[in-house]
């Protein structure tokens, strides 16, 4: 990977389930094309996909910005959505406000934010109830591999 910073942005449309995941799929291809380690690509893609699905499910629209440097991958996902009333509660596994039709699609089980936290090295969530939510997470590229036994 060269020393340059790769940046870009995807626009997300709420309730567009046909294209839900397309931004994360594109991001994954970009990361692979930059030669980033497969386990880091997977962690980033999973965190990004969960964040993207949150926008599709809950918000009217949103934006996913990425910047990739030799040191880190940084994603900022901003949405115009209902906002999160209680962020601590939303971070708990299993807590969800998703309606049934979302659950029937296999999402909305209350694993989204916890799963983003699990895969990212840092996560910041800020939200104004009634206005929208911004997620920022970083995954470092320079940490040693954590291959298990």
């Amino acid at each position: 990977m060269n020393d340059r910073c790769t940046e870009g942005c995807f626009f997300l449309t709420g309730k567009d389930f046909t294209n839900a995941g397309a931004a994360s799929s594109n991001l994954k291809e970009i990361l692979e094309s930059l030669g980033i380690r497969p386990d880091i690509v997977r962690r980033t893609a999973i965190a990004s996909f969960e964040a993207e699905m949150n926008v599709i499910i809950y918000a009217v629209a949103g934006m996913m910005q990425y910047s990739i440097t030799p040191e880190m991958i940084r994603l900022v996902i901003q949405d115009m959505g209902p906002g999160i009333k209680d962020i601590d509660l939303a971070m708990k596994e299993g807590y969800s406000t998703a309606p049934d039709y979302i659950r029937e699609m296999g999402f909305g089980s209350g694993m989204g934010l916890p799963n983003i936290k699990k895969n990212a090295d840092t996560l910041n969530v800020s939200s104004v109830y009634g206005e929208g939510t911004t997620l920022e997470f970083i995954i470092y590229l320079t940490k040693p591999s954590q291959e298990g036994p």
Binding site: F49, E50, M105, G106, S109, K118, Q146, G148
Partner: protein
């Protein structure tokens, strides 16, 4: 074991047009909750599921799932199969229940082992 071995064991039908049935599969995960697949599945696994929408293919792509078996004769629509073809994720459908399909694959040596190399914990 190969995907073709799995197909034979489950009496499954291949839905993909260009799926490579010779690829080796060592791990499997089953769920209808895609959030669980994202949270707990391992890379290069087989996914056994009863959910047939396009989100399953997206999830498989994101989580590096190698192939998908749909249970209870549930078939995805043509657009979903086309998406899987494009992503080169082979699809199969079996009449077995989730329980039976997983039991047969477990008997054949497939396991769902936690992979700690893909989280920051």
């Amino acid at each position: 074991m190969t995907l073709e071995d799995i197909r034979k064991r489950l009496g499954a039908v291949v839905l993909s047009r260009n799926g490579d049935m010779t690829i080796a599969i060592e791990k499997a995960y089953c769920a209808d909750l895609m959030s669980d697949v994202l949270a707990f599945s391992m890379t290069n696994s087989l996914l056994v599921t009863g959910l047939t929408n396009a989100q399953v293919i997206r999830t498989a792509e994101i989580a590096d799932i190698k192939a998908i078996v749909f249970v209870q004769s549930k078939r995805p629509d043509i657009e979903t199969i086309a998406m899987a073809d494009e992503k080169r994720i082979p699809l199969m459908v079996t009449s077995c229940s989730m329980f039976d399909a997983c039991g047969m694959l477990y008997e054949q040596g497939l396991r769902c082992e936690p992979d700690r190399s893909h989280s920051n914990e």
